[in-house]
């Protein structure tokens, strides 16, 4: 049953996934683009500084790409089911849990493609430049973090897409209301919780989600391919 599920998901998402695979391969190469020795300049003197400062300009694209790939895979996993009112799923001799698990596994397997592409791209990028003394490349660590970020985004959106539209609307509305109301009622909250005298609710919520033990901790932190 897993293979047909995998094939169905691949059939659904292949044309959308290929650009992301290419993007994942190209991003490390773009990161090191232009790093090297301009003619007439003393090579070693400016390399290290330029490598570190210029490669950092591309850092924000890695988590963005990871999140986008996860979202695309998750939404495409349930797309046909939503369109066909889950008739196909109901006709299968599987429990809901088994069905969802197989579907999730299929999507996770497809996520390996862009992750592998990034890993290859990172190694190619590293080999294409000579690193000055004191700098090191981290292609494996970067690919590992990328993979985890893709899977976290995929799992979150998969869970939301697995539910009803009503559930999704509730969740999204709750988030929006919390942010809007929380943002405007900081003073009131401060009367009951002294922490809000110094920190805004939105700031606190974002920090809670984006740092350990929040779910988005994997998106923050170091995404650098080349560093000391």
């Amino acid at each position: 049953m897993y293979q047909p599920m995998l094939y169905l998901h691949w059939k659904q998402v292949r044309f959308g996934l290929i650009p992301f695979i290419l993007a994942a391969f190209a991003l490390p190469l773009l990161t090191v683009q232009g790093l090297g020795v301009p003619a007439g300049m003393d090579a070693a003197s400016l390399d290290a500084y330029r490598v570190v400062s210029q490669s950092h300009q591309w850092l924000m694209f890695y988590p963005l790409l990871a999140a986008t790939i996860g979202i695309v895979l998750a939404l495409s996993a349930w797309n046909w089911d939503h369109q066909l009112k889950h008739v196909y799923a109901l006709s299968l001799p599987l429990t809901r849990m088994e069905f969802a698990m197989l579907k999730m596994g299929a999507g996770a397997a497809l996520a390996v493609l862009p992750i592998f592409a990034l890993w290859i791209g990172a190694h190619v990028a590293t080999l294409s430049i000579t690193l000055p003394e004191g700098l090191h490349a981290y292609p494996n660590e970067l690919a590992f973090r990328f993979g985890l970020a893709v899977l976290v985004a995929y799992a979150l959106l998969f869970a939301m897409a697995a539910g009803t539209v009503k559930t999704t609307v509730y969740v999204v509305s709750a988030v929006v209301v919390l942010l809007v109301v929380g943002g405007n009622s900081n003073e009131l909250l401060a009367n009951f919780f002294p922490i809000f005298e110094s920190v805004t609710f939105v700031e606190w919520a974002v920090q809670l989600l984006a740092t350990a033990p929040g779910p988005f901790e994997v998106f923050s932190g170091s995404w650098t391919l080349i560093d000391v």
């Binding site: 300049m41 003393d42 070693a44 003197s45 400016l46 290290a48 500084y49 330029r50 490598v51 570190v52 400062s53 889950h86 109901l90 599987l94 429990t95 809901r96 849990m97 069905f99 969802a100 698990m101 999730m104 003394e133 004191g134 700098l135 090191h136 981290y138 660590e141 590992f144 973090r145 985890l148 970020a149 899977l151 976290v152 799992a155 979150l156 998969f158 869970a159 697995a162 539910g163 009803t164 559930t167 002294p194 922490i195 005298e197 110094s198 350990a212 033990p213 779910p215 901790e217 994997v218 932190g221 170091s222 650098t224 560093d227 000391v228």
Partner: protein, 385 residues
């Protein structure tokens, strides 16, 4: 005509002239008086117009003075305990005295080498770590405050304590040639030199690279501790000086495309760049343009005092006119080379683990993936079995 008549006749023009002059003078005086009174009137009007402002300012000043007096009165009513931790004079609420002693003692262990600091001995530090409003605590003379809300962690409180103690010690160093010419910033224990490592490895400077490769002289130069005369040529190659000028000028608001600095930033004229660097901030010494910044230098001071053992900081303070390099040698009892090697070893040990925390992060991520998967499998949409 009689003689008298003739005299009268001759003096008539004079009399007439005198009368006319007197008249003119009187007229002028009258005019001046009128002008003066007009000016006086204007001034009086202006003063009158300022009176409401003056009265308002006086009212505000009196209110502020009354509040100050009230605060002092309240502060006098605040019951406080003064405790000693090393040379630190800490003023705390009675119920927080033991807590203050405990926390300051832990932090003070890191600063024991600086016990002879005259500034630490003269300062009073108020301490409050409370849930509600801070109680007014009146301190005389040199003072500092560590006053935080209770929901702050103890680690945060200790960081605040380090900040205060480091700032107080800074005032001692600022009186030395070491502080005037070389570095003047709050002194912290160098527990995290990863930033210094990063600076050393990526700074475009020939002496930084030499230091990283193991040359102690390179480390001294990178820190601005050369024995001989120092200048930009000793630290940077021509290309590096052009790059440095671009970055430093930008920091002073002189953007690279401005015409007055274009010969350096755009045309790459090294001599122009050198002049630009020397003149951007004439009040600071050339040592401030050495490759490594304040954090690296403070770490050197700390290591020197630590290596010098007992009396090290005292020796440092006892030689205010010593050059930075001499001062550090005197404090540590080591040669510059030995100090440089010690510093380099310490910095290399703090090479940042760029992907530190990857394992815990991955465990947490997998947990969240499992949670989301469980939520997906428990959807209320429909269930089979």
């Amino acid at each position: 005509m009689s003689r008298l008549g003739k005299r009268l006749l001759m003096s008539l023009p004079l009399l007439l002239l005198a009368a006319l002059s007197a008249n003119a003078v009187a007229a002028q005086e009258s005019e001046s008086a009128q002008q003066a009174s007009a000016v006086e009137l204007e001034l009086v009007q202006r003063l009158d117009s300022l009176m409401p402002l003056y009265n308002e300012a006086r009212r505000i000043s009196e209110t502020a003075a009354a509040r100050r007096a009230e605060a002092l009165k309240q502060a006098a009513l605040t019951d406080v305990d003064t405790i000693k931790v090393g040379p630190l004079n800490i003023v705390a609420l009675p119920e927080q005295a033991e807590l203050a002693r405990e926390l300051f003692s832990e932090v003070w262990q890191e600063y024991e080498n600086f016990a002879v600091s005259p500034s630490l001995q003269s300062h009073h530090i108020s301490f409050q770590w409370v849930t509600q409003q801070f109680s007014p605590i009146y301190l005389e003379g040199d003072q500092a405050r560590v006053e935080l809300r209770r929901w702050r962690s103890s680690a945060f409180v200790k960081r605040a304590m380090r900040r205060v103690i480091g700032s107080i010690i800074e005032s001692d160093i600022s009186d030395l040639r070491l502080g005037e010419e070389w570095v003047n910033a709050a002194l912290y224990p160098p527990t995290d030199l990863s930033g210094t490592y990063r600076e050393l490895a990526s700074m475009p400077s020939k002496v930084s690279r030499a230091c990283l490769a193991g040359d102690a002289g390179g480390c001294l130069s990178a820190l601005g501790l050369d024995e001989g005369p120092q200048d930009l040529e000793s630290w940077y190659t021509p290309d590096e000086r052009v790059e440095l000028a671009r970055r430093v000028a930008y920091r002073y608001g002189r953007y690279p495309n401005r015409p007055e600095i274009a010969p350096c930033t755009i045309q790459g004229d090294v001599e122009f760049c050198d002049d630009l660097l020397r003149n951007l901030n004439p009040s600071s010494s050339i040592e401030h343009l050495a490759p490594l910044g304040a954090d690296a230098r403070l770490a050197m001071i700390w290591l020197a005092v630590d290596a010098g053992g007992e009396g090290a900081f005292e020796r440092l303070l006892a030689n205010p006119e010593a050059t930075p390099a001499e001062a550090l040698q005197i404090a540590s009892g080591m040669t510059s080379d030995q100090l440089a090697r010690l510093w380099r070893t310490e910095v290399l040990e703090h090479r940042p683990a760029v992907y530190a925390g990857a394992l815990p992060m991955s465990g947490l991520a997998l947990l969240w993936i499992a949670l989301f998967a469980a939520l997906a499998m428990r959807s209320t949409r429909w269930r089979l079995g």
